[in-house]
Structure formats: C-alpha cells, structure tokens
C-alpha cells in the first residue's frame, strides 16, 4: 500500500528568505541535522531540473535524489529517490511554500508518497515524518534564527561586522555647488533592520540642490555628516539583524527621506529598499526610482490624470517632466509642457508632450488658455517666478501641484487667489507616498513595468563621477540638462 506523509508548519520569516534556502537542492548539509554531506553529481548547478544530489546521512545511510520540479512562481520543489540504502520505494516528495500575507510569515507544506517492504511501514513513516520533515522544520528555524542563511557558502561571517571603506561627498556649508567635496570615510556594519549596500549609481534630484542651498535644513543638518542624496542603486553587501527578504548579492535600489546617498557604501533601513528586475540597470534605477515613483503618485493619486485631462508640465524635458509627459500621454491625457529651449522642446515632444511652449521668462498662461482653454492639472517645479502665470493658466476647478521651486521658494499664497476658479493647491513630497516598504515596492514595480511595456521611455541619462558631484549640481542648476543625472560610484 502506498504511504502518504504530510507535514506542515509556519516559519516566522518572509517567504523570500525561506525559499532562498529551500530552492537550493544542495543546501541540506548546511541546515538539516540528519544530513552529513551533500553534493550535486556531475558538477551540475543545484537549480538545474534533473540534477541528482548525493546525501550521506549522519547515520551512514546514502540517498541519491533527483530534482523533478523547481517552480519559482509557486515556490515548489518536487524530487524523488533514485537510489538509497534505506528501503523507501517509489518515494516522491514535494516542498511547497506559501506567503502568509497578513504578517510576513511563511506556510511550509512538505508531503510525499512511497512504498515500503511489508512490515516496515510504521518505522519508515516515522523516519520520514519525524526524522526528516518535523526535524527539518526545527532545523531550518534555527538556521534562520542564527542568520546562517545570510552568509554566502564557504565564507566566514567577516567582513560583515567590520566597517568598510567608502568614498563620499560632503557638504561643507550651505551654499553653491563648490561646497560639495569628496573625501574618504568608513561605513559601519549594518545595525538592526539595516542593509549595507555597495552603491554603483546615485540619482541626482532637485531636492539635493534645495538641501545644498539650506532650504530644508531639517533634512540635511550639517551638524551631522552633511552627505546629500536620497536614492541609489547597487547590490547588498550584508544585512543586519531582523532583516527579511534581502540577501547579500541582491541587486537593489532604495529611496528614503534621510539624505546620505552621495557615497560608495551606505547602510539604509531595509524598508527603503526594493529588488531590481534583471532588465533594469543600476544607472537606470538610480535615474528613475525617485522620479518614476514621483510621476506615479502625481498622475495616479494626486492628479487623477486620465483620458482627456488637460495637463501642463513645467520643465517638461527634465528628469521628472519627461516621465510625466510619456506616462500621462499613455493614460490618454492632453499633455502640454514648458521648456526653455528648442532642443528641449524636441526631446519633450519625443517623450509624448503634444503641445510644447518654449519660454525663458515664465510666460505661458496665454498659450495654455489659447490651446486648451486652461489646464486641469499643473505639475509645477518652477516656483515663485511662475506663481501668477500658473493661476492664470489653470482651468476652472484646476489643481496646482507645486513639486519644486527651481526659480525660488514660493511666497505665501492668498487663499482668495484660488477662489476665483475654485482652484486647489498641493505641496506633496514623495516620501509620504512611499512610507511603507509595500507602497514603495508597488510603485517601483509599476515604474519598471511601465518601462518594460513602453508606457515610459527611458530619458537621456547624464553621468558624472561621484567625486564630481559639484559639477553635476552646476549642470542641473544651469537649466541646460535634458533628462536625468546620475553619479557613478
């Protein structure tokens, strides 16, 4: 009679971390106490379906098992015994993981069917159910609790606990780009909840310029190390205690509300971090994460942009502007934009801006009224010099979203200035729209998906060395750049 064994449990770790161990067909000698030694025959990779692992057990038994199914999407692995010194016959087993979504835990189901020689049913059932499956649950729990899964195989825990040398750019005092100076530093080991990242590309944003000028001192207090920068991409070096779902070597990008990204190695809270799809390069991620997520919340949440929405985008050839134009066009909006040169007008048009207004003196309201009868939504990075024109350009019940202030901080607005046309005014900051890891991951996934399906077109990327951050800022402030700027570490 065919025997069937089912055992299941809940593991207090996210599915990504549990699966990283169990998907490796050759991992048992590291975590399962009954396995003395494991190797994959013929030097095959342990994720090649069809590969055979040879176990030597602690009790001296030998078992050869073949991988029949490896399913990354369903988190499932099926294998069978092809030869063994224990009399398990026609043994086929399946490991399945499922996420427990309300709490970040993992359901682990392990089942098998097999036949036995007469009279050995009970003994072999107990061996499989308790000796292998139940003991395996406990052994894997201990493996994860001690963080053994976070060390690459064959390496010692060091240098994880050691500070690592880093190159960084500090702001000596609030002011012009010349206040940004490169220096050598050390990055300490990641603390509780943190990951340490080897950064390869760092995004440059207008908020970095505002911080450098001292406009938002709370976000970059110079009493501490004044390192600007809100986003970067690279790979995980090591992780601190209580971090789930991130492993050394993972390609990642991050975005967070505390400055400090202008460096080569940085520790950040794991909650800021998203995995990068293989198709997204480091420089693309650094150029797009903050700006793409900004475009996402501007269009989807704040602007509620859809078919027929009359949208006016200032700095339409800038890093955020190009993304907003392309995505809004895909959503069916009528996209108008302002730029400061014919060259930028050409790029903005290529990215979906249908009606481009070239202006160097912040005059555009007449053109917007003539073309579309006003704008339903204005995405404004210009600031004070354009305030009256923005109000004049808006249609009835229009929405003015003040994203930035390249021309200078906005002076106070009289509420009655909005009354004449029932206007609304928003002053958002991206970090409130990505306040949880899930929210950030959801928005980032939409950006990568939009890039993959052509809704977003990759803007031109201008690269500068990390040590040349000052010249990158000069370029950004000169209004001569098109697209996004990144620092390469």
């Amino acid at each position: 009679m065919l025997q069937r064994i089912v055992r299941s449990t809940i593991i207090d770790a996210p599915i990504e971390r549990v699966w990283a161990v169990l998907r490796d067909f050759n991992s048992h000698e590291q975590w399962h106490a009954v396995v003395e030694r494991s190797r994959i025959e013929g030097g095959e990779k342990s994720d090649r379906v069809g590969c055979v692992r040879a176990f030597t057990l602690k009790d001296g038994n030998r078992i050869r098992e073949q991988l029949l199914t490896l399913d990354e999407r369903e988190h499932k692995s099926t294998y069978c015994i092809v030869e063994a010194t224990v009399p398990l016959q026609r043994y086929v087993a399946t490991v399945t993981l499922k996420p427990v979504t309300d709490g970040g835990r993992t359901f682990w189901h392990w089942e098998s069917t097999f036949a036995t020689p007469p009279g050995m049913e009970r003994e072999l059932r107990e061996m499989v159910a308790q000796g292998v499956y139940e003991a395996g649950f406990e052994n894997l729990r201990r493996h994860l609790r001690t963080g053994n899964d976070l060390q690459a195989r064959g390496t010692t825990p060091m240098p994880t606990a050691l500070p690592l040398p880093s190159r960084r750019v500090v702001l000596r005092r609030y002011g012009g780009p010349e206040q940004l100076v490169a220096e050598d530093a050390e990055t300490p080991a990641p603390r509780d909840g943190e990951v340490r990242i080897q950064q390869r590309a760092i995004g440059v944003n207008f908020i970095d310029v505002y911080l450098r000028r001292g406009w938002i001192p709370a976000m970059l207090p110079l009493a501490v190390a004044g390192v600007p920068g809100m986003e970067a991409a690279g790979s995980v070096l090591d992780v601190g205690p209580n971090v789930g779902g991130l492993l050394p070597g993972d390609r990642v990008a991050y975005l967070g509300p505390v400055a400090g990204a202008y460096c080569s190695v940085r520790c950040v809270p794991a909650d800021w971090v998203v995995h990068l799809p293989a198709a997204v390069e480091d420089e693309t991620a650094a150029a797009l994460l903050l700006k793409g997520v900004t475009a996402d919340y501007l269009l989807r949440d704040l602007g509620r942009v859809g078919p027929g929405t009359r949208l006016l985008v200032h700095a339409a050839a800038g890093g955020v502007g190009l993304l907003v134009c392309a995505w809004a066009r895909r959503l069916g909006a009528r996209v108008m934009g302002t730029v400061s040169s014919e060259e930028k007008a050409r790029v903005a048009r290529e990215h979906g801006c249908e009606h481009v207004i070239v202006t160097r003196d912040y005059r555009f309201a007449d053109a917007v009224q003539r073309h579309a009868g006003g704008a339903d939504v204005v995405i404004d990075g210009l600031g004070d010099a354009a305030r009256d024109e923005n109000i004049a350009a808006l249609a009835r019940r229009g929405h003015w979203v003040s994203l930035g202030q390249a021309s200078g901080p906005l002076a106070a607005i009289d509420p009655d200035a909005l009354l004449a046309k029932s206007l609304t005014f928003s002053r958002p900051v991206v970090f409130d729209y990505v306040a949880t890891r899930a929210a950030l991951a959801e928005r980032a996934d939409r950006v990568w998906a939009a890039l993959a399906d052509g809704s977003l077109k990759l803007p031109p990327i201008e690269r500068h060395a990390l040590a040349a951050a000052a010249s990158a800022h000069e370029r950004l402030e000169s209004r001569r750049t098109v697209g996004a700027l990144v620092l390469v570490a």
Binding site: V6, S8, T9, I10, K98, V100, T101, D102, F107, E134
Partner: protein, 146 residues
C-alpha cells in the same frame, strides 16, 4: 488581469474552520460585510453550479455561481455573474490547508479579474483588504475567543 492574494493563519483545525465556511449560502453567518444570502431557485448550497444571491452591508447586490467545492481539499471556487463592482471575469478561490504542527490552519483567498485600469487600486483594496482580509479577521476573532 488583476490578481489578488491574501493569506493568514487561523488558530483552529482545518476541519473546524471548514465547517464554518463551507456553506456557500452561509456568508452572513461569518463574514461581517454580508447581511443576507439565499440560493436562487431554492437549490442546495453544495450543488456545484448553484447561485448565491446576497447583499453587502453597504447595500450592494451580488450574484455568484459555485464553480468547484472540495471537502477533500477544503476549497471553494466561484465566479461573479452579476454585481455593480465593475469587475469582469471574476473568479475567486477560498482554500484551507492544515498546519500539522499545532491546532491551526493556513487559509488563502485569491481572485483574478479584469477591470478599468483607473479602478485597479480601489478594487484591489476593496476586495483584498475589505472582503478577504476582513473575512479572515472575523474568522481569527471567532476562533480566538473559544
């Protein structure tokens, strides 16, 4: 195609939880968002193909057809055939799996459907957080009180 997946762990055996949720006509007895339910044409609620006709607390009416019912796999699938939610091709599955090391079970509720792109977020939240997680939370409360 939108896919929603919500799962949890409930502190009661799969048999016990299944006996509470198995009745396709029994939503009002355990789900806080449902006020009343009937099986159309007076049929049995475990006849595959039967249609439940129920109302939500906010007054909405929904008709759903039972597509699959398995007492062996603790699983039930159904489709929406009429509602004002603005979804199409909506098929959902509610399933339990025993957790053998302890008196508890793993529960998952998933759905696939099409809708207007502008409503994806709202519907994902209404169905995933409101209906599915809301139902699980009620079951967890019920079985933790005993």
């Amino acid at each position: 195609m939108i896919r929603i997946y919500v799962s949890t762990v409930i502190d009661a055996s799969a048999d016990t939880v299944w006996s509470r949720i198995r009745d396709f006509n029994g939503l009002p007895q355990w789900h806080p968002a449902i006020t009343d339910s009937r099986i159309e044409n007076g049929g049995a609620s475990d006849r595959v193909g039967c249609i439940r006709h129920f109302h939500t607390r906010d007054g909405g009416m929904i008709r759903e057809r039972l597509l699959a019912l398995s007492d062996y796999e603790y699983s039930c699938s159904y489709e929406i055939i009429e509602s004002a939610m603005g979804v199409e091709n909506y098929v959902a599955t509610l399933k339990l799996m025993p957790v053998t090391d302890g008196n508890r079970c793993f529960a998952e509720w998933s759905a696939e459907f099409d809708c207007a792109e502008a409503r994806e977020r709202e519907l994902t939240s209404t169905i995933g957080d409101g209906v599915f997680q809301g139902g699980f939370d009620a079951l967890k409360r019920h079985f933790s009180r005993r």
